[in-house]
């Protein structure tokens, strides 16, 4: 009680009468140190990776990014197929997850169902984020791989003339990894999209109804456009998450550094390549892997910064509407 009174008096008394409180200063110093350490750690990690990667950077230059062959036994290192695999698996995952996640977000932000039921569904979707990556990998191996093997063969048979579905079909393929990745990023997309849908000011909705728009028209014409920046941000953040995902992808993508147009062919991603080859790497291969890690870090950082910037802009633009 005394503490409360004291703080009230200090507040009323103004800065001149404020007694010296070492705890606040200590706390501020601790916060400063903690945040400085976080930044320092990132700089340190980047510096360390850059140092280790330097021999490969000077040796292979930018040709590393356009090289199509990764053969450690011959000292040939090129990551183009892996870069394409990283981008393709993440984009495909978004392609699957975005419509689904958005639909769930709309469903959960409208009053289609009683609130407790919505809360329950929301909780279940967000729980997906708590499942460890390796469990997704195992689930993929036992459920998704056989499915892709079975239906992929049908797909290759019927649509094999398109390079996207050309055979031979593999169970462990780009498609398999993307499907599981889609499930893994679903909670991110759903949660952030739902938040931005809920944040749409109720006045907008009421005005839309008042003008005679149906619910369908209101959702499509008013709510979604207003929440669009938030939805875009959720997509970009999920993209970053999908690119960095390692374990489940390494278990499902087939780990092959070959260029292929087909979704049914095995592929590889930067993070899976690192996870697979680091332990036994030696000499210039370690450098090349560090170079690949650097590329991955830069890609993920760029994507995350972009996502964050968009998210910030959304919040700013919504402030005016409230």
């Amino acid at each position: 009680m005394t503490l409360g009174e004291k703080s009230i008096t200090t507040r009323l008394g103004g800065p001149a009468n404020r007694p010296y409180r070492p705890r606040a200063d200590l706390f501020r110093a601790a916060c400063w140190i903690a945040s400085a350490l976080t930044v320092a750690l990132l700089v340190f990690i980047l510096g360390e990776i850059l140092c280790k990667a330097w021999p490969a950077i000077t040796k292979f230059g930018l040709g590393f990014l356009s090289g199509v062959q990764w053969s450690p036994n011959r000292g040939v290192f090129g990551v183009l197929p892996v870069l394409i695999g990283t981008a393709a698996s993440s984009l495909l995952a978004l392609l699957f997850a975005l419509p689904l996640g958005l639909a769930i977000a709309i469903f959960l932000s409208e009053n289609f169902l009683p609130r407790p039921v919505r809360q329950f569904i929301r909780f279940m979707v967000e729980l997906l984020a708590a499942i460890p990556s390796v469990v997704y990998g195992l689930w993929g191996i036992f459920i998704v791989v056989p499915l892709v093997q079975q239906y992929g063969a049908v797909l290759a048979d019927k649509l094999g003339f398109l390079p996207l579905f050309a055979g031979p079909t593999y169970g462990n393929s780009l498609l398999t990894a993307s499907l599981v990745l889609a499930l893994m990023v679903l909670p991110t997309i759903t949660a952030i999209s739902r938040n931005s849908l809920v944040a749409v000011p109720p006045t907008l909705r009421e005005v839309s109804y008042a003008l005679g728009a149906t619910r369908w028209e209101t959702i499509l014409g008013v709510i979604l456009p207003t929440a669009a920046p938030g939805i875009v941000a959720s997509t970009i953040l999920s993209f970053g998450r999908a690119m960095g995902e390692t374990m489940a992808v390494a278990m499902l993508i087939g780990n092959s550094q070959r260029l292929s147009w087909s979704l049914l062919s095995p592929s590889n991603t930067l993070s899976a390549l690192l996870a697979n080859q680091f332990a036994e790497a030696e000499g210039i291969q370690i450098s090349a892997l560090m170079y690949a890690a650097l590329v991955l870090v830069i890609m993920t950082l760029a994507v995350n910064i972009a996502g964050d910037a968009v998210l910030r802009r959304t919040q700013r633009s919504l402030v005016g509407l409230k």
Binding site: P168, G171, N255
Partner: protein, 350 residues
């Protein structure tokens, strides 16, 4: 405390009370050679890891003074850790490269510890056992020239076997591994096409198929994929009941992988003075073609008598009593003359 010498400390060990023991422990950490148990750490190849770990636990029963800890982190990392002095012994299933040897020559000895074969395991619907693969056939499969199981090149060696028209999925290792090095070494030796398209080494680029991490990853993929074929270490394949193909050897006989056929290969190998031998394509008529020794790396001088004695005792145990455990785990007992040479090399350790 420091005036206590080694023997008195050991003889009084049992009757010590607690504070005295604590004081003795502090003293022993300050002075080497005083501790009751010497800890020996080793790391390296995953291929012989089950055997080394078995040796370590059996060795503890006969020699309670020495605690051996072996971690299977891979040949490459094992050799690096050993050369950096992090571990007391290393293990590698590809003999060290010449430059590594010269780097460590002053102070390293390679001792063959066991041997094993690498097999082509398969999962072909309707063919439970007894598949034979000629050199043309398995090289063709691996480089992508043969894509269906009913290909004439496979059928030729398997009269009477009903081979399905299922596509072939080649399963390889996604991680760098000594197993890959030995297997590709053999393939590159027997086929110029393989040498040109794939080459040999711990991590190569395969023209076809998918890759799994570790022997276990490859095994899982083979089990799960109808039409799969992949290379795994024999002990692993046997333990997981995978069907293994008989391979054509240099004498043009089809030899099934087994402890016996692997031993036959080893018997025909002449070990050179430095105990490094690469068995790329054995010539004996009953030799299984893909066989490798696996080596333990020890230092010549440890600068610590207890450590040197511990390492020596452990490796000696492995080379003698420990050899009996090898066949139980899918490895091959070393031929007596190899053991003799290995024991002689071990003498140099001080």
């Amino acid at each position: 405390m420091t005036s206590l010498n080694h023997t008195t400390l050991q003889t009084r060990n049992l009757s010590m009370n607690r504070p005295f023991l604590a004081a003795a422990l502090i003293a022993s950490s300050a002075l080497p050679n005083l501790g009751a148990a010497t800890a020996i750490t080793g790391s390296g190849a995953t291929f012989p890891a089950p055997l080394y770990q078995r040796w370590a636990s059996d060795f503890k029963k006969v020699n309670a003074d020495v605690m051996v800890n072996y971690q299977s982190i891979g040949s490459g990392a094992g050799v690096t850790q050993f050369l950096q002095g992090v571990t007391d012994f290393g293990a590698s299933d590809t003999a060290m490269k010449d430059e590594e040897i010269s780097h460590a020559r002053q102070n390293a000895v390679m001792i063959p510890a066991t041997a094993g074969s690498i097999v082509l395991a398969y999962n072909v619907p309707g063919v439970q056992t007894g598949l034979k693969l000629s050199r043309t056939a398995y090289i063709g499969i691996l480089v992508g020239g043969i894509t269906k199981w009913n290909d004439p090149a496979i059928a030729k060696a398997n009269p009477g076997v009903n081979l399905p028209a299922v596509p072939i999925t080649v399963i390889s290792r996604s991680d760098g591994s000594g197993t890959t090095a030995v297997f590709t070494g053999h393939c590159a030796e027997v086929s110029a096409e393989f040498k040109e398209k794939v080459g040999s080494g711990k991590a190569v680029t395969w023209p076809v198929g998918v890759a799994g991490k570790g022997n276990e990853g490859v095994t899982a993929l083979i089990k799960q994929t109808p039409g799969a074929i992949g290379y795994v270490e024999y002990g692993f394949a046997a333990y997981n009941n995978l069907a293994m193909a008989a391979l054509e050897n240099k004498a043009q006989n089809f030899i099934s992988p087994s402890i016996e056929s692997c031993a036959a290969t080893l018997a025909s190998v002449k070990l050179p003075g430095d105990l490094r031998a690469f068995i790329l394509d054995p010539e004996g008529s009953n030799d299984y073609p893909v066989v490798t020794f696996t080596w333990v790396l020890v230092k010549k001088t440890y600068g610590d008598a207890a450590k040197a004695a511990g390492v020596k005792a452990f490796v000696t145990y492995g080379l003698t009593t420990g050899q009996a455990a090898a066949p139980q785990l899918g490895y091959v007992t070393l031929p007596p003359e190899v053991v003799t040479k290995a024991m002689a090399a071990l003498e140099a350790v001080k």
